[in-house]
């Protein structure tokens, strides 16, 4: 299936959308990354929209939607656009949430678990190492299993929590896609979990910011593979 889809992908440019909400501030970085990697600018979708254009990938970028009031991502997760994203996700459209986008996806119930205050109580803004735990996903095909990649993180609430039953289930299903590697867990996440996908494999959330490490000017391109995989622009 993946081979066929990838071949189809080579014949056309994949389309993407970036969601915009008040307080998100990484949308421009995300738009730049998607444009550079796919060769086509993403459409932007405002929070009140109830329909999402026909795209292959929807990205919820990072930031501080609604000032992180109540809980990070909680208010954004209840905005009209999220119902539209849920409907698209159920149809198999790929959805990527980065940082606040990940928090919004867990609050919306599209991904399991919760993201809590960092165990250190400190905002962390640094580079970490990520282990690609599952390279057989729509988002990680460009990597190999066990590969260690660099990625920036910048968050206050990235401490992944899930109850024992959920944890066992996501580990068993291969839903843990990225783990903080080499002792770089910046937030106390259970199992060093940095990125999780849904059971169907088309919705991925991650705290690190791959969009900020996609070209030489960033000091490396380790994050590029996530977008290249999702947009199917990997050289076959």
């Amino acid at each position: 299936m993946s081979f066929k889809r990838r071949r189809q992908g080579l014949n056309r440019t994949m389309k993407s959308a970036v969601v915009q909400l008040p307080g998100l501030n990484r949308d421009r970085d995300m738009i730049a990354a998607l444009t550079k990697i796919s060769g086509k600018a993403p459409v932007t979708v405002w929070q009140t929209e109830t329909e999402i254009p026909d795209v292959d990938l929807i990205v919820i970028p990072g930031g501080f939607s609604y000032g992180d009031y109540l809980r990070c991502g909680a208010i954004a997760a209840r905005m009209p656009v999220m119902q539209a994203i849920k409907a698209k996700a159920e149809k198999g459209v790929k959805v990527l949430g980065v940082c606040n986008g990940f928090q919004i996806l867990v609050e919306a119930g599209l991904l399991p678990g919760a993201l809590m205050r960092n165990a250190s109580l400190k905002f962390v803004c640094r580079e970490v190492k990520l282990e690609v735990v599952n390279a057989d996903t729509d988002f990680t095909r460009a990597y190999s299993k066990g590969q260690i990649i660099r990625s920036p993180v910048a968050h206050h609430d990235g401490n992944y929590f899930a109850d024992a039953e959920t944890l066992e289930s996501i580990e068993g299903n291969g839903q843990v896609v990225f783990r903080y590697a080499e002792g770089t867990n910046p937030n106390g996440s259970m199992g060093d979990i940095a990125g999780v996908m849904n059971k169907a494999g088309n919705v991925l959330g991650m705290m690190p910011h791959p969009e900020n490490l996609i070209e030489a000017a960033h000091g490396g391109a380790d994050g590029r593979g996530i977008f290249a995989s999702a947009l199917e622009v990997i050289a076959a």
Binding site: L70, R71, A74, R78, V106, E107, G113, A114, M116, R117, N118, A119, S120, L121, N159, F161, A162, D163, G188
Partner: protein, 80 residues
């Protein structure tokens, strides 16, 4: 009008780094013998109805849909 208070607390077993920090700060102030501090949230709401049954049902829905994240939090509702 009905006045209501919703209290949201972390479930047992969920790590509460903020509670831990407060516990440490209280100890530093000389308050001895504090077993544990858990931080939560309180919401005071005024509801424009006289129907207590409906108010309770609405409050429960508010907790489930927004005020609490039931993955990590419990809630209690009390009407004045």
């Amino acid at each position: 009008m009905i006045k209501a208070r919703v209290t949201v607390t972390l479930k047992n077993g969920v790590l509460d780094p903020q509670g831990k920090a407060i516990e440490g700060a209280l100890g530093a102030l000389g308050f001895d013998g504090i077993g544990q501090v858990r931080q939560g949230k309180v919401f005071d709401l005024q509801i424009e109805t006289g129907d207590r049954t409906k108010a309770e049902a609405d409050l429960k829905a508010m907790c489930e849909k927004l005020l609490a994240n039931t993955v990590i939090e419990n809630y209690t509702i009390s009407l004045a």
